[in-house]
């Protein structure tokens, strides 16, 4: 195993190839362009296919075709392009097709900016397209973690016959870090007897479909999907916890924001503020249990996001009103500074003091 210095986007692309992904369909958009560019160079070297689609709409439907044909396949994009993919993602869920979708988030709404953001949290964790569904979402906070989570995403996609999202903020895509890239990883190639490969009459005909015109049949399909989602929720939740056990104040942050928060927590500890952090690694399933548990001992929570406050809803649901949940966020591509997060920790720690009513603290 060699340590390589790689940009996040390139590391994600190489990780996918080493996880057995041989088909990539995408459309250029900043700040994820290094993924398709890297794929266009590497895929021919490994006997795979890179195809630049005419739009994100086409790209996700090419993914649908390739996934339905039994292949390990990936696409990547950013906000505006991910919005265009949503119809296709809903179809992928309905037809139960595995694939990996990378979203390197940028500022929005609209064309927004090309700077980092976490503004697509709702879109990613609430399904994003039409219909009643959820998709597993991984949120790497380092280039190294982007590699392992991308590879995990392919296995999870196959295991549950579902699209899986790797949700990075713009910084993850652009920053360079040393990474361990395993020369070959164990690829859990599962059997796909449902795939459309040509029907020789020895098995039931493959029909890749999301249409169930009879409401009772569609309800059964939905119940089956919900059971699958429940199974994912109980088995796949992942998070990191730092200094939480004795913490009065628990910061909740994901992705690169968690790194900024980590520095701020250490500085707060040096000042005598008992701060800790819970870092969701899967945004769905959300680590509600560890947060609920922390709510028994911590006095307050502070959610830090590069958005106007989206994940805070999930934190509040987990805390269930037992403790104050405060928020600090930057938007539009602005990145929170360590000293600003530290300042918020000080305020929140004040809120954690029962002598200070929450209103004053805010």
């Amino acid at each position: 195993m060699a340590k390589l210095l790689m940009k996040g986007n390139e590391a994600i692309a190489e990780a996918a190839i080493r996880a057995g992904c041989r088909y990539f369909f995408g459309y250029p958009i900043t700040p994820q362009n290094q993924i398709p560019e890297y794929m266009s160079k590497r895929m021919p070297q490994v006997g795979g296919t890179f195809l630049q689609a005419e739009s994100e709409v086409s790209a996700i439907n090419m993914v649908y075709g390739a996934a339905g044909a039994g292949a390990r396949v990936m696409t990547s994009s950013s906000g505006p392009g991910i919005s265009l993919k949503q119809e296709g993602i809903s179809y992928l869920v309905g037809a139960q097709l595995p694939c990996v979708i990378v979203n390197i988030m940028r500022g929005g709404p609209g064309l927004g900016s090309i700077q980092p953001s976490q503004g697509d949290y709702y879109q990613a964790t609430r399904g994003g397209g039409h219909g009643d569904y959820r998709i597993p979402v991984f949120a790497p906070s380092s280039v190294g973690e982007a590699v392992t989570l991308t590879q995990k995403a392919f296995d999870m996609a196959d295991k549950y016959r579902s699209p899986v999202i790797v949700l990075g903020d713009g910084m993850i895509g652009q920053m360079m870090e040393p990474v361990d890239l395993p020369d070959s990883i164990e690829i859990n190639n599962v059997d796909k007897p449902w795939a459309a490969v040509g029907w020789d009459g020895t098995r039931p005909r493959a029909i890749i479909n999301s249409l169930y015109i009879d409401p009772s049949v569609l309800e059964r399909h939905n119940i089956m999907l919900q059971e699958k989602f429940a199974q994912i929720e109980s088995a796949e939740m992942d998070y990191g916890a730092e200094l939480v056990d004795d913490a009065d104040l628990v910061v909740v942050a994901y992705g690169t924001v968690a790194r900024i928060a980590r520095s701020a927590i250490r500085m707060a500890r040096a000042e005598g503020i008992k701060a800790g952090m819970i870092r969701p690694i899967t945004l769905w399933p959300f680590p509600s249990d560890p947060i609920a548990k922390a709510a028994e001992t911590a006095k307050a929570f502070l959610t830090v996001e590069m958005s106007a406050g989206q994940m805070i809803d999930d934190v509040r649901l987990a805390v269930a009103g037992r403790k104050p949940v405060l928020f600090y966020g930057r938007t539009g591509g602005m990145v929170p500074a360590v000293r600003d997060v530290l300042h918020q920790i000080r305020i929140a720690a004040g809120a954690a003091d029962p002598r200070n009513p929450l209103e004053e603290a805010i």
Binding site: N61, N209, L211
Partner: protein
């Protein structure tokens, strides 16, 4: 006993769900016959559209995928890139292909994607209850052109075969009709040729079939067949628009 008539092997026993007098059914049969004749049933993968033919996945006895509205050529591209030795076809209506899916069909043709598209032009949105299609004729009354299609408002109907034939990546493009037995035989030849083109690896192939929608045209089945001949064919001339084996027609 001699067999004089048989259902093609590439059609299932499911009962077609099309309205009486609708020619979607004839076109299904011709596609299945072509697959049978070429002996490619076991390696064919079809893509059903959103439109009246959405249930095509129940009718063709081959592996099938159902695509989002207009996206069948992109889905077929994904399939064909994974299984280049399989025969991949899309079956699409005029709303599906010429309106919402215009980008996908043009780029599949542009790339010379080695797939075959069966394009059913009935000048209307059948499934959603008879709204105007990009192929609706000038003056034709639909539920969203109640005063007849007006050129000032909507422009002229789009002729897809002519357009696709212009693309360098297309290798075989023909327009046929199924309104009488003679034309059914011509259509059968064209569909077979389109699949042969795919098998030869020459590029993208498409057959546009003028088709009836008695239900939404507000006509009897026999009036509908006559209307294809009297009103559709003059605007949508039949013939082979491109045959790379022969050079452009």
């Amino acid at each position: 006993m001699a067999v004089v008539f048989q259902k093609p092997k590439s059609l299932t026993d499911d009962i077609l769900t099309y309205c009486p007098g609708c020619t979607h059914g004839i076109i299904h049969r011709l596609v299945a016959e072509a697959i049978d004749d070429l002996g490619v049933q076991a390696k064919t993968i079809g893509v059903a559209p959103v439109g009246c033919a959405v249930f095509a996945y129940n009718f063709f006895a081959v592996d099938m995928m159902q695509a989002a509205h207009g996206r069948a050529p992109a889905v077929a591209t994904g399939i064909k890139r994974v299984h280049p030795d399989n025969v991949v076809f899309t079956y699409q209506g005029d709303g599906d292909l010429a309106s919402i899916g215009m980008a996908e069909i043009m780029h599949a043709a542009g790339r010379g994607e080695k797939i075959t598209t069966i394009f059913v032009n009935n000048a209307i949105y059948g499934m959603t209850g008879g709204q105007m299609a990009p192929t609706t004729l000038i003056g034709q009354v639909t539920t969203t052109s109640p005063y007849g299609r007006k050129e000032e408002l909507c422009g002229k109907p789009i002729r897809m075969s002519e357009l696709i034939a212009q693309m360098d990546g297309s290798a075989y493009v023909a327009r046929a009709s199924v309104h009488d037995p003679k034309h059914v035989l011509d259509a059968k030849k064209a569909i077979r040729k389109a699949f042969e083109t795919q098998l030869s690896g020459a590029g993208f192939s498409m057959v546009e079939l003028l088709s009836t929608c008695p239900t939404n045209w507000g006509m009897t089945p026999s009036e509908s067949l006559k209307w294809v001949a009297s009103d559709m064919i003059p605007y949508y001339p039949l013939g082979v628009y491109k045959d790379s084996a022969k050079g452009a027609a």
